[in-house]
């Protein structure tokens, strides 16, 4: 029932990394540079020997550095069938030359391979001199190498992030993330928590720790959106052994903190409840996710919520 529809403009946003690389890489980055070339005066028999010796399936024919044709095993087979293997390369080479420029993007070569029935493309520099040869195999190898580089780069970023604390010497190293949360901004509700969760993951926290911190900080974020007078702030301090999350606002303060900690107790309005909030489980959830939770609240200075997650060495 899902229809794999034909390509449309909508798909433009979903170009794969491989396709993207086709637009990034230049032909010069993937082509073979040590190119075996033949002289037009060579006999087809000599060409056959060279092709076998070099384990290639074809070669450009050059005269004074300029490409004048191309010889492939198919041309050799034709010469053999005709019983004219003693003839010159210039008699059997393909002349309708299709070439590409070394500075072109790989995607241009892919288009040529798709449209024309050729197995290899001589690659020329800006002075029309031969600088390389390109086959589909070269493109595949080039793309695979580039993907491998991508992968290693991502690994490196992750490695660096997760070893951030080991690389920096101080008496106490920490990383602080701050987010301003706007009152009634349901549209962006959860954005800060999502960013925090991703940052923790990147810093090397386990999936479980990142998820628990994400849930705790989400509840705190929604409390700031729903219950405060002017919104508030989220502050997350990451240290090698613990994560401290803090939500603070300037009012109106919680009337009865003890009551607010009772499962199912909520002061959310009907409108907020209709959005799916106000289960009266926010603080209860936070307490079950983190190792320590403290609330300080007063009518004068608003509410401060501290949440601490200790990081086990084994994680």
């Amino acid at each position: 029932m899902s229809d794999q529809a034909t390509l449309s403009d909508n798909d433009a946003g979903k170009i794969t990394r491989v396709e993207e690389l086709g637009y990034e890489l230049r032909i010069s980055q993937v082509m073979t540079t040590n190119v075996v070339t033949f002289s037009p005066d060579l006999s087809m028999l000599e060409a056959l020997d060279l092709i076998q010796k070099n384990r290639i399936s074809g070669a450009p024919v050059t005269l004074n550095g300029e490409v004048v044709g191309i010889i492939s095993t198919e041309d050799l087979i034709r010469a053999l069938r005709d019983g004219r293997i003693d003839r010159k390369v210039s008699d059997y080479m393909s002349r309708g030359l299709i070439t590409a420029k070394a500075t072109d993007k790989v995607v241009e070569a892919l288009k040529v391979f798709q449209k024309k029935n050729v197995g290899r493309l001589p690659i020329l520099d800006e002075n029309h001199k031969l600088v390389g040869l390109l086959t589909k195999g070269d493109i595949t190898n080039g793309l695979l190498t580039a993907l491998q580089r991508d992968y290693q780069a991502e690994e490196l970023i992750r490695y660096r992030a997760s070893h951030l604390f080991e690389d920096i010497e101080s008496d106490r190293t920490s990383l602080i993330l701050r987010y301003r949360i706007i009152k009634d901004d349901f549209l962006h509700g959860g954005a800060a928590s999502n960013h925090i969760k991703k940052a923790l993951h990147r810093l090397g926290a386990s999936r479980q720790v990142a998820r628990k911190c994400g849930i705790a900080v989400y509840e705190a974020e929604m409390n700031l959106i729903i219950h405060t007078t002017n919104g508030g702030f989220l502050r997350v301090e990451v240290e090698p052994h613990k994560i401290t999350m803090e939500a603070y606002d300037d009012g109106p303060g919680i009337d009865d903190v003890e009551k607010a900690l009772t499962p199912g107790y909520s002061t959310a309005t009907e409108e907020v409840r209709n959005k799916g909030f106000g289960a009266g489980m926010g603080l209860v959830n936070i307490r079950s996710c983190v190792d320590e939770m403290t609330i300080k609240s007063s009518k004068e200075s608003g509410t401060n919520l501290y949440m601490i997650m200790y990081l086990d060495k084994s994680q």
């Binding site: 029932m1 899902s2 229809d3 794999q4 529809a5 909508n10 979903k14 349901f186 549209l187 509700g189 959860g190 954005a191 928590s193 999502n194 969760k197 999936r207 998820r211 994400g214 849930i215 989400y218 509840e219 929604m222 959005k275 799916g276 909030f277 106000g278 289960a279 009266g280 489980m281 926010g282 209860v284 959830n285 079950s288």
Partner: protein, 119 residues
Amino acid sequence: MFTLQTILDKIPLKVLTEPVNYSEIEISSGYASDLLSCVMTGAKADGIWVTLIANINIVAVASLLELPAIIITENAQPDAATIARANQEGIVLLSTEAGSYQVVGKLWQLGITDTDPSG
């Protein structure tokens, strides 16, 4: 293990988000609630969530909990911003006229019984 494709093949659901390869999305459990805080505690990662809430907050919750798909019941309609956010976060939004009770029943019949021993 079930994939979202299996669910789409067996239960009539309207896909609201951009098409993706549903057979690559594994669904290991299910959860139903209309209270976000309960979902926060109850829903397991890689589970499918059945709810009649259709506002943008469901996307944030699903993203945080790594829930790959949400079935919105009783024909509740998410707005364009919600669908756009879901596309951005890679969460599949599905819609149906049926109520949550019926949908959960069908998922259970399919074999998504939430008795994953590792959960």
